[in-house]
Amino acid sequence: MTDRERASFTAICPDCNERKGTETPNEILGFYRRHRNLTGHDIEWEFVDHESIPTSAANEGLKAIVLELDETFDNGVPLALVTAAMGEQGYSIGETMAELRELRMTGHVWEPKDDHVSAF
């Protein structure tokens, strides 16, 4: 078994099948950004260590998901977990990031620290 297979968080590029496994969720974001910078491809979540994501948030809007996750974190939700929760609803990381940007630009969501988000 390789590192990739036993990782807690894995994401995949559907265009070129490149898969990335990490131990912390936000490392997936780094992968997403680097991969997109070089190929323009979007990335999808494949597997998330389920304890990190409450499933009750299913089928709510993005802001509701940030609000819900925010209750379990002190200083903002790791951004990648938000994309993972949205991934459960079929959104790619790129799609969630675009929607999140929209929410930030309209003042609904902010970053208490880098790559961590809170809503109000």
Partner: protein
């Protein structure tokens, strides 16, 4: 003799003679975060590094970005049809100008405009226009409009980075006084320039992240002693005993002969021979014997313990035929096999047990690689 970190042995510089016991780069240069910090300066800012393929930006104003270490450049086609490179940094107050734009999805612009205060540059990097607020002092009670100096276009142009080419392959050098490109690319440039590389189009790019130091993969690419044991499918048609490893100043070439060949009409290089060029520090050109096309690898470090392999494939057209697709799949398989090997090697290296490895007599290509690293560190 291998040198272990067992409290007795110490490492030494890579010896010029491959038969000496200290013929490898000390292991710490593969695992120490400071080593990569140093390499950003001493290697990636001083030697020529591959930026991308000119065919991807055929029209005036076409561009892509390329990030090398902490530096990002815009590589673009100017009005004279030349390919030039500029730091992606505005001359006004240093804003990043264009978004990250991969070579595979190039952008296009008629002028280079910074989104911050709209300073605008021509495609040759010269400042062409600034908004009125930079020509008039209407908000500054201490200055009259006439006192405002006109910004000189030349003096406020973008910072250009030296470029050179091997056919369609574009290289950049961040040094203000770079070594001549010919010195680094030497015979490799002459050989490749005799081939119609520009007639081929970009067809596929695969980017993989691998958990090891970039030099670990560079070393693996540079020898095929591991092939027999690890690339069963690939070596089938290859005559490994007839292969040759050639060492030059800044590049080395692995020649392989193979049984099968592509159609005589459809071949850009010699019969029965595949050539794999490694150009210091982190670029390879793969002239496959069994497909009419070629590939390139960029072995791009992310940090000391991770790199990205950027694998590009070029064929007659950008639409791949079924055979080409199959060929690329085999190539991807080879990469995955190698990734396992280098990640495994890196796990070993990270344990800190090994102080300085020991290269075999036929690993002279690797020896060259380690010597060049050493030379760069000491420069």
């Amino acid at each position: 003799m291998t040198r272990w970190n067992d409290g007795t042995d110490r490492v030494e510089a890579v010896s010029p003679d491959i038969t000496d016991e200290t013929n490898a780069l000390p292991a710490e240069y593969f695992t120490d975060p400071n080593a990569y910090e140093m390499e950003k300066e001493k290697i990636f800012s001083r030697y020529w590094v591959y930026a991308g393929h000119a065919n991807c930006i055929p029209e005036t104003g076409d561009f892509f970005t390329r990030t090398v270490g902490d530096k990002q450049i815009i590589v673009l086609r100017d009005n004279e049809n030349d390919v030039r490179a500029f730091y992606n940094v505005c001359a006004h107050r240093g804003s990043k100008i264009v978004e990250d734009t991969p070579m595979t999805e190039p952008g296009s612009m008629s002028r280079i405009q910074c989104p911050y205060h709209l300073w605008t540059y021509d495609l040759d990097g010269d400042l062409s226009t600034t908004p009125k607020s930079f020509e008039e002092a209407s908000l500054n009670p201490d200055l009259a409009d006439e006192e405002v100096a006109k910004l000189d276009d030349d003096g406020n142009s973008l910072l250009e980075v030296s470029t050179d080419r091997i056919g369609p392959l574009v290289f950049v050098n961040f040094d203000t006084d770079p070594m001549p490109f010919e010195e680094q690319a030497g015979k490799m440039a002459t050989e490749l320039e005799s081939l119609p590389l520009g007639d081929y189009q970009h067809a596929a790019r695969f980017v993989s992240e691998v958990e090891c130091n970039w030099k670990t993969f560079g070393g693996n690419y540079s020898e095929c002693d591991h092939c027999q044991a690890n690339h069963q499918d690939w070596i089938e048609g290859i005559q490994l005993d007839e292969s040759e490893l050639e060492v030059n100043d800044y590049h080395w070439v692995l020649h392989y002969t193979h049984e099968e060949d592509v159609d005589d009409e459809l071949r850009i290089h010699d019969e029965h021979e595949a050539k794999f060029y490694y150009l210091w520090p982190n670029f390879t050109v793969n002239m496959y014997g069994t497909a009419d096309g070629y590939g390139t690898y960029i072995i791009d470090p992310i940090d000391e313990s991770r790199f990205q392999l950027i694998a590009d494939y070029f064929f007659e057209t950008s639409e791949m035929t079924r055979e080409e697709l199959e060929f690329v799949r085999t190539s991807r398989q080879l990469q995955e096999e190698d990734f396992e090997l280098v990640e495994r090697q890196y796990e070993g290296l990270k344990s800190g047990a090994l102080a300085q490895a020991q290269l075999g007599p036929n690993e002279h290509t690797l020896h060259k690689f380690h010597r060049l690293a050493q030379e760069a560190y000491n420069a």
